[in-house]
């Protein structure tokens, strides 16, 4: 696109983000402050992820963008179109073909590889925010490794509900040091953060924070010896592809309480159907027009 630099950001901005990214990788789970720029999409709509992606892209990349696990949700479509325009790079809906994947709220079902980078859009990067709204306080808590309050809060949940009542954005501990917000992914996805071959980068634009998980990093969901963390498990198979191991969306199909459960990861579901898997409500598989 004429008039704009490769990947939209000016070089000085990219250098600033790149330096922050390197420090983020060097201090896994620590939130590096960065001078987030105003982007041509609103704060809260992925500006952090977009800046991280823009600072990482090379012309050879193939980019996939998902929101809620799906490639065809409006904001995913919009961000993908943005990069196709300002960086002139290839895009894909297939996890396996992507070298960079920008995501909001999900980690793809297909295992990621060493040659892939996963970029998360993060709304509130501070895992302690719900205990303490002040950045000046939470910064001290991280510095002193003072996470007792967090454990107390989680234990109160157990006392009241019999389990930790946190179903997404479930906090993790990175390499036994920093407590980190994994972004609002369902806790179903938390185990995928651990020991992942791909580099995972997190960008929070409005809150001006970048953080990272290098490949093969130990990531543990917070829990207690007597109440170990349990990732949620689907109660149903996918109605389209029959998968029993994927995260499902509940789709209301009529006004009489009828509903079906389908894979939130649209690419995973399509792949399985292309390979001949059938759920109980599946039509014969047809390649979707891109």
């Amino acid at each position: 696109m004429s008039g704009y630099n490769f990947a939209y950001l000016d070089e000085q901005t990219k250098r600033m983000i790149r330096r922050a990214l390197l420090k983020a990788v060097a201090i896994p789970g620590y939130q590096v402050p960065f001078a987030s720029r105003e982007m041509p999409m609103p704060y809260g709509w992925g500006t952090g992820g977009v800046q991280v992606t823009a600072a990482c892209l090379v012309p050879e990349d193939t980019l996939k963008v998902i929101d809620q696990g799906a490639d065809d949700t409006t904001n995913a479509v919009s961000i993908r179109a943005f990069f196709a325009r300002v960086a002139d790079i290839a895009t894909t809906e297939h996890t396996r073909d992507a070298s960079v994947i920008q995501t909001r709220h999900r980690i793809p079902e297909a295992p990621l590889r060493e040659d892939q980078i996963l970029v998360f859009q993060v709304p509130i990067p501070e895992p302690l925010r719900f205990l303490e709204p002040r950045e000046t306080e939470t910064r001290k808590m991280h510095a002193l490794e003072e996470y007792g309050l967090m454990h107390v809060r989680l234990y109160e949940d157990i006392a009241r509900h019999g389990e930790i009542a946190k179903s997404y954005a479930y906090p993790v501990r990175v390499e036994g040091r920093y407590v980190m917000d994994p972004s609002p992914i369902p806790k179903f996805d938390n185990p995928k953060l651990d020991d992942c071959p791909a580099l995972q980068l997190f960008g929070a634009g409005r809150e001006q924070r970048i953080y990272a998980l290098p490949p093969y990093t130990r990531v543990e969901s917070l829990d207690f010896e007597d109440y170990p963390f349990k990732a949620s498990r689907p109660d149903h198979p996918c109605a389209l592809c029959g998968a029993r191991d994927s995260y499902l969306d509940e789709v209301v199909i009529d006004d009489a309480g009828g509903r079906m459960f389908v894979c939130s990861d649209t690419d995973y579901c399509n792949d399985r159907r292309a390979a001949g898997h059938r759920g109980e409500m599946a039509a014969p598989f047809e390649e979707m027009p891109e």
Binding site: P42, W45, T47, G69
Partner: protein, 363 residues
Amino acid sequence: MYVAVKGGERAIAAAHGWLDEERRGDPAIPELGTDQIRTQMTLAVDRVMAEGSLYDPDLAALALKQARGDAIEAIFLIRAYRTTLPRFGASIPIATGAMACERRISAIFKDAPGGQVLGPTFDYTHRLLDFALMAGGEAPSSAPQSEPRDAAKPHVTEILAREDLIQAESEHDEVDTPPDLTRAPLSLPASRALRLQALARGDEGFLLSLAYSTQRGYGRNHPFVGELRVGTVAVEMEIPELGFAVEIGEIVVSECESVNQFTGSKTQPAQFTRGYGLVFGRGERKAISMALVDRALRWKELGEENTGAPAQDEEFVLAHADNIQASGFLEHIKLPHYVDFQAELELIRKLRSEALAHLGADA
């Protein structure tokens, strides 16, 4: 049988088309020119420049046209454009004492050197709708418009300063290169220069309400409008090759200095204190609000008590003053959140079924 909805791209394109149509409105009515907006909707243009942090009336007018008159959307357009512009350097501080004032009032003296200049203000208009404007209106009768008076207008607070009755602004916290919160992440505690920068581009409504809250007792500091001035100042830049500053243009700004009551502390004799507000364009409501909030935020420096009022809370004020950050995050909850919602749904069902089973067992 279920067919997944797959129309994101088409839906977006259709929405954009419809939006263009709505913006244009009835094609039988002449299209609004940006020159009309720039010269007739001047206060809207000024607000967009102030909160967009970019002094360019033509672009602000364009942004307002494109945004269908929505100030925050127009500010957003300007901000997103501004961030792509190269920086050539920093100007030297503008000299507001040398301002060509079109308006200059002081509420603390009946008259002051340089005089009171009422200027084109709404203040004493009776707020009666002028139906003549609706009828196509006449050109206003040529009102006696005093040329900006060249007579020097020293800052009113200088009169107080001569008698040492008002706290002197410390020079040392004004560093050579002012901090730039668009280039460095906000870190707390912030310097006053950084706070003022954040307030200058902050949302007018937010600052107005905060300032109002201080007047009602939440961080009360008894403000007087020491001086309010609106007018044109020169912008000068140091050119290293020349070794002196040259004028690169003129801008209109609104400046307010509040004079606040202060009874003294253990370490300081009684003295008046100050709050400061400066805004691009004609934005006196915002300038006054800014001065009051600035003054409230200075409690620590002036040895006052922190009463826990919102306007005294630096982190609270700075983290929430920006309407582009606020509106973006507020409106992002329109985006799909069905994955998280699904996780919550499952959790609630599970907790409820366990609780109900419990109740059933007890019954």
